[in-house]
Every structure is written in structure tokens, then in C-alpha cells.
Symmetry: C2
Subunit: 129 residues, 2 copies
Amino acid sequence: MTRTHHPAPTFQLRLALARDVVIGPGKAALLDAVERTGSISAAGRTLNMSYKKAWQLIDTMNRHFSAPLVVTQAGGHERGGAQLTELGRQVLAHYRALERKLSPSVSAEAQALIDLLGRPADASPLDST
Amino acid sequence: MTRTHHPAPTFQLRLALARDVVIGPGKAALLDAVERTGSISAAGRTLNMSYKKAWQLIDTMNRHFSAPLVVTQAGGHERGGAQLTELGRQVLAHYRALERKLSPSVSAEAQALIDLLGRPADASPLDST
DNA sequence: CTCCGCTATATCCAAACGGACACAACGGAA
DNA sequence: TTCCGTTGTGTCCGTTTGGATATAGCGGAG
């Protein structure tokens, strides 16, 4: 390591593909959790998010995108659940891919900024006024 | 144009350089406005933001960064005002530079996503079920 | 048929947010 | 000295947000 252990700078990306057609870190994490857990309520629990909040976010996406990203079933095969549609998987995949693609550039610039902060540009040696 | 007039997809970038050291679209726009207008209140007006809100955002930045990004004067030369410090200008410049650097990649991926939405993956030609 | 966990929805209520407004201090201009 | 626009701070209050809770329906498992 160069100095001490840094908390590692992070970045968040929010895409507005059209009016109200928006995906950011929160919805991406939720889609991820739904895919892994197979239900909205379980996804909410893993994200420490209320069912209401999780359902609202998914409902917003389903209504604003051209087709649902998540399909649900009350009761049934395994007492109900939810899963991503093909569109949902692709949207999530594209979002993650873009995050990965941007990561190197962001890291480089963030490091430059952190270097700036470490050196507060103070003590101009010949400041007459 | 290819089809109809698109609202042009946009993206927002939020950088967390450290705990509570965060800059995103809102604060960047505010720094921009302060630099242009020379005061917090005028910046707030141009952004249609209350003085309270503008001041709070600037105060948050000044307290959490290693040094102030904005310096102010009540009364004085031109009845008071505010301007960016050298650090403030550099932080803003880096943020804008990163936005510009990321823009092409984002545009490309966003277009791929929009294409996905335009074709809701429906009407599989040979769907037996 | 009963049971189970989930979906979907409504109601209630506390906390957070944010705008509107008031006000004192500042300090150079006139 | 008076005047001015700004900074900085506080209070009040309506709006929004979001958690907690309740309830109904679903539909396969047992």
C-alpha cells in the first residue's frame, strides 16, 4: 500500500434512457436480489428494504419500461415468487457491463481528486495581499 | 434522424471519494453557478433553488472536504458574495472532465439499451406453447 | 380442505425534507 | 450615517417519504 488503508472511492451511475425510464444503483441492486432470491419480499429482506419499497420500485420499472422487467406469481408452484424477464436480465446485464467499463476511468480520476484533497493547495509562498 | 425525436438519454455520475466526501450532479451545478454568478444567493436563483438549500449544500462540502471549496464574504466590496477556491475550481474541473470522458461509453451502452426497449423481445416467430 | 408464503393493496403515523419567512450582522458605497 | 444585497441562522409549516401493520387473494403442497 502507498499510505494508509483507504475506504476505496466508489461511484454511482444513474441512467435516464427516457422520461421516467431510469435505472440506478438501487434498482439494479433490487433486480439483482430478485434474480438471486426468487421473490420480491426475500429480495427486500436481503437489502434491508421493506416489501412496500421493493414492490414500489419494481412496479415503477414495470410500468415505465416498454415491458415488465419482473414477473410475479401469487401462490402456485413454490408459494409464489418473482423472477426477471429476459428484458430484465438484459437491462441489468447492460447496466453492470457499463459499470465495469467505466470503472477504470473513474478510479483514475478519483485518485487524482483524492491527491488534490491531500494537498489543500495552501501556503502560497509569495502572496502579497 | 433515424426515427422520431428522442429526448436524448442522459446519465448522472456521483462520486464518493471518501465517507461523506461526495460530489454529484447537484453540487457540481451549484459550484458552476457560484463561479458564474459570484454569490450563493444568485446561484440559487439561477438554479431555482432556495438560498437555504444552496447554502446547506455548500456548507456540507466545505465541512467534509479537506478544505473549503467556496469562500464567502458578508457585506464588503460588492455587498458580499462568494467564489470558488482553487480547490473548488479543481474539483469541479475534474468532475466535468470525468463526465466528458465517460460520455461516449455511456452513450453507446445507453443506445444498446434503448434498442432493447424498442424491441420488447416479443413475438418469437416459432413459439410453440 | 387446510396450510403456507408470497403478492397486492390500503391505512395510519412518525420522521425527513424543504420552502417561506424573519432577522441580525457585515462592510463598502453614497 | 444611511442604504444595500448578501451571508448565516432560526422558526414555522405543509408536503413527501417511508416504515409498520392489517387484510384479502392466490394456488400448489400435503
